[in-house]
């Protein structure tokens, strides 16, 4: 491998000196994708991008416990690669449209982002059952949380519990997500990818479970302590749960989606915590993520008035330190910028004539 500063262009029939690299390769950790110029790169794009597919299929570069050399982590958590092989789903289980391709076409084909579907009673009845299954599955997952257990193991348990109940784990291959649930430890805000890291005493972990069955998605998550967690951590977890509950209490026909953030941020602030702005609650039913979009912070400009039949999640992410987030090079794991911890809770609910029904309630 040439280590001199002079790299040569990777283009066919071109050996000009090259200082520019393919950004996708950089992201995927593929070294030495040098090209001399944008136009040469363009010319060779067809052939070159095949490399991305190959790399994307692999579970990160072999042998390394640090898949992204040079990346500056904000906290102490590290990914532990390689990830376990992709889990399979039996043929008889109904799959969402992205199960094979990774692309949620149905979400891309919506007519407008301001339409919020109001589900009829029959649909809610089906959804209720799916949510109940999701609740069972997450409870099983939570029961498995112990010091020394890897997040991959928890993912396996959740995957199998879902399949057992005839459901498809919604996260699996959603936009290419590799696992069947999200495990977010400590400073990970959300979308943590289950890997080979064993849980440590004092960790806090969020399990985010989604089940797809009979044409409907359900979505819920919980943060739980691992072993002995310090007082601050426990406070954080409690506050996050309360934030969610206070917001849920505001749900009723005629209420504004944008008002939910006010009550969440107010409660987080009482204990000196901050609210993540980037990730929001969302509509969930036939589509995994759809309208409404529900930010959790104060004075947001979410659109929409609640109507009977609206189904959505509220899932505030509450941080010990800054609200600002950044993303690991795997393009999924969201972490706090200051490395401090984050806790989250989520339920799926439907607006009723009198207020709200929490479909994923225990």
């Amino acid at each position: 491998m040439a280590t001199s500063s002079e790299q040569l262009c990777q283009g066919l029939n071109c050996s000009k000196p090259a200082a520019l690299q393919c950004p996708t390769c950089l992201k995927l950790g593929i070294p030495n994708s040098f090209f001399c110029s944008q136009s040469c790169f363009k010319d060779n794009w067809g052939a070159h991008k095949a490399i991305h597919k190959i790399a994307a299929m692999a579970n990160g570069p072999p042998g390394g416990s640090d898949p992204w050399p040079g990346y500056k982590y904000s906290g102490t958590l590290r990914p532990v690669y390689p990830l376990s092989p992709r889990r399979t789903v039996p043929a008889h289980i109904q799959k969402p449209d992205y199960a094979d391709t990774g692309i949620p076409l149905s979400e891309q084909n919506i007519r407008s982002s301001s339409v919020i579907e109001a589900l009829p009673k029959e649909d809610i009845d089906v959804l209720r059952k799916v949510c109940k299954i999701a609740r069972e599955v997450i409870d099983i997952g939570v029961a498995a949380v112990k010091v020394g257990v890897t997040t991959d193991e928890i993912d396996r348990i959740i995957h199998e519990a879902t399949i057992e109940r005839g459901g498809y784990p919604s996260p699996l291959n959603y936009n290419g997500f590799k696992k069947s649930c999200c495990t977010s430890v400590n400073e990970v805000i959300c979308h943590g990818v289950p890997d080979m890291r064993p849980l440590k005493d004092g960790d806090i972990i969020n399990l985010d479970v989604s089940v797809y069955k009979d044409g409907f998605h359900s979505d819920l998550n919980e943060t739980v302590p691992v072993g002995n967690v310090d007082a601050n951590g426990l406070r954080l977890i409690k506050n996050a749960r309360e934030c969610m509950e206070k917001a849920i209490a505001m749900v009723k026909p005629g209420a504004l989606y944008r008002d939910l953030g006010n009550v969440i941020e107010k409660h987080a602030k009482t204990e000196g915590f901050q609210v993540v702005k980037t990730y929001c609650g969302h509509g969930v039913h036939r589509l995994f993520h759809c309208a409404p979009n529900i930010p959790h912070y104060a004075r947001n400009k979410a659109i929409g008035v609640m109507k009977v039949g609206h189904v959505f999640t509220i899932e505030p992410m509450i941080n010990e330190g800054t609200w600002k987030d950044e993303m690991w090079p795997d393009s999924w794991t969201a972490v706090t910028q200051d490395g401090k911890r984050s806790a989250q809770f989520e339920q799926t609910m439907v607006v009723t004539e009198t207020g709200v029904e929490i479909l994923t309630a225990r």
Binding site: Q21, C22, W45, K53, A56, L105, N109, I303, S331
Partner: protein, 619 residues
């Protein structure tokens, strides 16, 4: 004059990341007391970015809290935007736009619709009067047929108390006036919106600044680049797309300086795709972005940018659009003295009357008029294709003008030549973004005219600011007055017809505008000594042609008098004298501007009489 509302608004604007330099510009009362305006506090250069408003803070049917309700009940256009704004106003301090709305409602626009009936009577002498009366009627109708049912349907949001306080007819009228006079086009997602801060920039026929936004965004979510499919147009690309992240869009190579975002390049590519006929510009635009934006993504903002240098204390202005005074008055609440885009409407009936006085042959007139109306599209074919083929596809694409009202406001566009109207149809050369949609709207407005047909109103023609008649009227008059043989010839043969009309237009160029052009040509020859495009030599008119021309000119003069009589316009005083007395009277607001409308129309009629009189004499 810094009221507490203004101060609160400025603080709010800053919080919401509206960008402007406090040391460079300020909002304050205009000298004419028309309202607030934006003024320079020091000398500023052309190209200076006066104001940048993030699209996230515009108030549109997509950002109002009740967006989903409006969408569900299919309320559209200005009425939807008005209801959305009324809703936000009803939320008081809780609305994300509270300080902005407080400032607006503290200083409501003075519109003609607020005038008492007596005052409006004064304006009977100009065309704006009918438009305003129609506006008032439409307002009432819209309220009863759209607003009230919508509110009843959503009674858990619009409680009895809120209804009584914030959703009365009066409140609707007040907000409609704000929306009508302040609404600005943003893009094909928001369509029309209230754009805070930028909307304090007032109109001037010779402006020093321009309003630019990036129009082509996803109609579904408003993003510059996203994955939403728009009616299959992106399907081809996506078929080859098996791996979600790797589009066929080639990302920017990562070099030393730039950390490229795939999103940014996709945005550039999307913009390029959308502007197919501007390929060269599109590429340049892409490259500009690659150089200018290091790590930043494209900031999708609504901008006010200086075209000219301004001095300290000068007001910063833009051009709302080449509207005649009657539209400026009914839509924006003001009018412009000596408005170069002003027009007078000539009804088809008046043309018939004038023709009848000269020809005294109703049957002939009907026959020829009918033929003209049926066939005129073929002649104006080429010009119109650009406009008809255009973007206005119908429902979604609502523009912020008076369409819903159905009474086609006269637009001086159709069939006119672009001699003066340099800024009306041609888009401005874009910097990074597409030119403001209002210019394009003009083309589209014609398309929506009357609601029954997808067409402009055929029985309306125009006289321009300088008194000249529009192309359609010129053609119609020629059709009416040409002799039998000539008419038979053009009836049979489209080619002959086109040739005939081409000839007329060329002669008009020479005869009516000839003097100016000749002088200019001489100058050019002196200066450059270059080859110039040889003008086709037109022979002198033959007898037949002279006869027709004489009849046409006489008809025009008759027509002008008919039009004047119809509106009670007399020549007891000249238009110039009228202007002087109007100013002396020291009226303000809608009364003054209504007066300008009346005076402006008289000026046009006067110009027409003088002009065509002299052509007749020369013949």
């Amino acid at each position: 004059m810094s009221s507490k509302e203004l101060t609160a608004f400025l603080a709010w604007a800053e919080e919401n990341e509206i960008l402007w330099d406090k040391a460079a510009i300020e909002i304050k009362e205009t000298p004419s007391k028309y309202g607030l305006g934006v003024f320079a506090k020091k000398r500023l250069e052309p190209g200076y970015e006066v104001i940048q408003v993030p699209k996230a803070i515009v108030l549109s049917v997509q950002t109002t809290g009740i967006a989903n309700l409006l969408e569900d009940d299919e309320v559209e256009g200005d009425t939807a935007l008005t209801i959305g704004c009324m809703y936000e106003l009803s939320r008081g301090a809780q609305s994300p736009w509270a300080p902005y709305l407080a400032l607006l409602t503290k200083r409501p626009p003075q519109m003609a619709t607020t005038l008492s009936k007596e005052s409006r009577e004064m304006m009977k002498m100009c065309e704006a009067y009918n438009d305003i009366e129609a506006d008032i009627k439409d307002l009432q109708e819209d309220f009863e047929s759209i607003v009230v049912p919508f509110i009843e349907k959503n009674s858990d949001v619009f409680t009895a108390e809120i209804k009584a306080k914030f959703f009365t007819l009066e409140a609707f009228r007040a907000m409609m006036e704000i929306v009508s006079s302040r609404g600005m086009d943003v893009d094909n997602f928001h369509v029309t919106a209230l754009v805070p801060f930028a909307d304090f920039v007032n109109h001037n026929p010779m402006p020093n600044a321009d309003y630019l936004t990036h129009e082509e965004v996803c109609e579904i979510c408003g993003a510059l680049a996203c994955e939403h499919m728009e009616d299959g147009s992106d399907d081809e690309d996506d078929e080859e797309n098996e791996d979600g992240s790797d589009d066929d869009e080639v990302p920017d190579l990562a070099g030393d300086d730039s950390a490229p975002a795939a999103g940014k390049k996709a945005a550039a590519a999307k913009g390029k795709k959308a502007e197919e006929d501007m390929e060269e510009d599109g590429e340049e635009w892409e490259d500009e972005d690659a150089e200018d934006d290091d790590d930043e993504e494209i900031n999708d903002t609504c901008d006010i940018i200086l075209d000219d240098e301004v001095e300290k204390g000068e007001e910063i202005t833009r051009h709302y659009g080449p509207y005649p005074n009657k539209i400026l008055l009914s839509k924006y609440g003001f009018a412009v003295e000596n408005n170069p885009h002003d027009t007078v409407t000539i009804q088809l009936d008046m043309v018939r009357q004038a023709a009848q006085r000269i020809l005294k042959d109703e049957k002939l007139i009907e026959e020829r008029t009918a033929w003209f109306l049926e066939n005129e599209d073929a002649f104006i074919g080429a010009e119109d294709d650009d406009e008809e083929g255009g973007c206005c596809g119908g429902g979604d694409h609502d523009h912020d003008h008076d369409h819903e009202h159905g009474h086609g406001h006269g637009h001086d566009h159709h069939g006119h030549e672009h001699a003066e109207g340099d800024d009306c149809c041609a888009p401005k050369a874009p910097k990074k973004k597409a030119a403001e949609a209002e210019a394009d709207d003009e083309d589209d407005e014609e398309m929506e005219g009357e609601e029954e047909e997808d067409d402009f109103p055929r029985d309306i023609m125009y006289m321009m600011h300088d008194g000249s008649i529009d192309d359609r009227l010129l053609m119609l008059l020629n059709v009416l007055f040409m002799d039998k043989d000539q008419f038979a010839k053009i009836q049979e043969d489209m080619e002959a017809a086109m040739e005939y009309f081409n000839d007329i237009f060329m002669r008009r160029e020479q005869e009516e505008r000839g003097d100016e052009d000749e002088e200019m040509e001489e100058d050019e020859e002196e200066e450059e000594g270059h080859e110039k495009v040889p003008k086709p030599e037109l022979g002198p008119r033959d007898e037949k042609s002279k006869k027709t021309r004489k009849a046409v000119l006489e008809a025009i003069l008759t027509l002008i008098r008919i039009r004047a009589d119809a509106f009670g316009v007399t020549d007891k005083t000249t238009a110039e004298q009228d202007l002087a007395s109007l100013k002396k009277a020291k009226l303000t607001g809608p009364l003054y501007y209504g007066g300008l409308c009346v005076q402006g129309e008289k000026q046009i009629l006067q110009n027409g009489l003088q002009g065509y009189d002299s052509f007749l004499a020369e013949l």
